[in-house]
Symmetry: C2
Amino acid sequence: MTGILSGMRVVEGSAFVAVPLAGMTLAQMGADVIRFDRIGGGLDFQRWPVTDQGRSLFWAGMNKGKRSIAVDLKSERGRELISEIVTAPGADAGLFLTNLRVRGWMDYETLSQRRRDLVMLSLAGDRRGRPQVDYTVNPQVGFPAATGPEGAPEPVAHVLPAWDCIAGNLAVAGLLAAERKRLRTGEGQEVTVTLKDVAAAMVGHLGIIGEAQVNGVDRPKGGNALYGAYGQDFVCADGERVMVIGLTDRQWRNLLQATGTAGAMAELERSLGTDLRQEGNRWRARHAITDLLRPFFETRRVEEFADAFDAAGVTWSVFRTFAQAAREDPDLTPDNPLFQELEQPGIGRYAMPGSPLGFSGSATVPPQPAHELGQHTEEILADVAGLGSGEIGRLFDAGVVAGPKG
Amino acid sequence: MTGILSGMRVVEGSAFVAVPLAGMTLAQMGADVIRFDRIGGGLDFQRWPVTDQGRSLFWAGMNKGKRSIAVDLKSERGRELISEIVTAPGADAGLFLTNLRVRGWMDYETLSQRRRDLVMLSLAGDRRGRPQVDYTVNPQVGFPAATGPEGAPEPVAHVLPAWDCIAGNLAVAGLLAAERKRLRTGEGQEVTVTLKDVAAAMVGHLGIIGEAQVNGVDRPKGGNALYGAYGQDFVCADGERVMVIGLTDRQWRNLLQATGTAGAMAELERSLGTDLRQEGNRWRARHAITDLLRPFFETRRVEEFADAFDAAGVTWSVFRTFAQAAREDPDLTPDNPLFQELEQPGIGRYAMPGSPLGFSGSATVPPQPAHELGQHTEEILADVAGLGSGEIGRLFDAGVVAGPKG
């Protein structure tokens, strides 16, 4: 068995989150993903977090298992080489992912002259061609204004680059859909997507545009509560914080049973004249519900109820910091087959994840560290661009390409 | 031209965000997506936001353009019907997406007995088989502890169900990858993914596990600042809030130029002995940078600098609430070809998005409202399950299936 995409070759010209994530997602399913960068590294080569020596843990994380070629993209010959590599022959090649805004030689129109069945996915900022980042898209569509403690005046932006991650996975889907069509018809095409449209569409999909337009309301901040049903965070006797969920009927019943609050809730229902089996009523009565549940948590350490909650089928979790999660959550360590502890050259040894997708009929591709920038310059020029060793030597000498620094 | 996935048929047994989003993403690329639900609606049929009449805007948003069949899933005959529909013949059928935790008849092992080349994607909560929701996964992996104003003690959970959205799009990629293999080899398989693994992997991909393990630090809250470079929110003279970005060199230079602060920044560099062309130094000096930029915004209304910022290539944005975004952002209205204003039966008329993916060689599938629960029960029983009208009538009479209420 090999990885489910083994044999596929994808070229990636990218920076930051979405497109590098898309390329890595394909690599972790077995595709040969070649990322090209300018010599010295692209815009994200120093992206934080970095080590004390300034090496980017972010870059290492987003480029695991890809091959790397470093080229002077300002030179005619460098651009020619990348064009050749993007459009090199192979039934399962001719796939190009990019978020670089390069007019001319890197356009679909130009590249597809070299290979008519090219499939090229371009991610842009917005439909007007303006650059956008997660930090600008998110405030525009309204999430920060609805995030944070009830009544707090300040918007709170998310820290996870969620729109990038969503867009990156959608880019994988778009590329595979276009390649599927090429398998059937022989035709390539350009696939386009913008970060802003990804966010705009999701606001619609989640019902939020309807909420504003049909209900005429603006969703207020709800703290850490689960919107529209019941879910709340509590501080326990040991100072730890937990989240408990009563989204479905079963979760709600299990929560009441595990906390011994069924009787108190029945009384609350009578006094409010409401039926808390209806999820919307739980949302409306959430503060009163929280008041009834709080003493349970205030008087107990997490270890006093954790096993009982699990046994009772309560959906709940602890809150951790990143460092605690990396240290204490077995799902983020090699206890989880998703992870392996590996050496990242120039950085050190730490737990690295593979793809969260499991395929029963294909091998799991083990996680690999990111390669050095330019690590595969020579082999890609030989095997993909088909150059001889003499010409490759001259390209290095002329500074048109570069290998790894080390 | 037809939608890029036209001809593909996918069956979805689902609730909530990730799998319904995956199915809808496929439907918005042209696939025939059949969602089955129990009679009366599944666990998410009343999910908030809802209208004043209790109709779910969320459900409508997540099921746009799918066909719907309502079946008594507790009855033997109902299960048999769904099994038939999932495994019905057709080279581009036999694709099943689910997050329902049903043992026995709905397992891959059982369903694949009926159709050997079935491709089934199952999303679960975590690798131990426990249910998880976005609200429990997120605190476990550490994001709320790193979100919110600097120094604030309380964790802040995101409001966007980001892990669900990321997982949903990854599920689309996983299904397409497995279907690609089936096209080549004739072999089906089960694809598995858990919400927790999606989050755990992303924490690794973003370099955060490395940051904790290699650097030995825990990332503190940074407010709305862009982590690791420069990006900050400011309140303007008109009370509006804007985000400005200095992530790349160019963005940083353009920001200084547009705000006339290049000289002041040069002085800051001298006084701090730092080089603000390095993104990490901008992060370290962010408070001092913000102090220099603040007067510009405090003394100007947004309309006074908006055009100049755009002309100067500043990457920036306004903050909006959801209702403001739906009202004021043309990208969330039919001004954007992504959206159409459509009538959602039982709810009303509002702007609905299609797929943010554009395919140059395939038609854009226009957005469609969600259909009524059970709207296509009869036609699916006839066309997909191959039943005659007499038998279909008996199934309705016996309450094994149901059509739309209305």
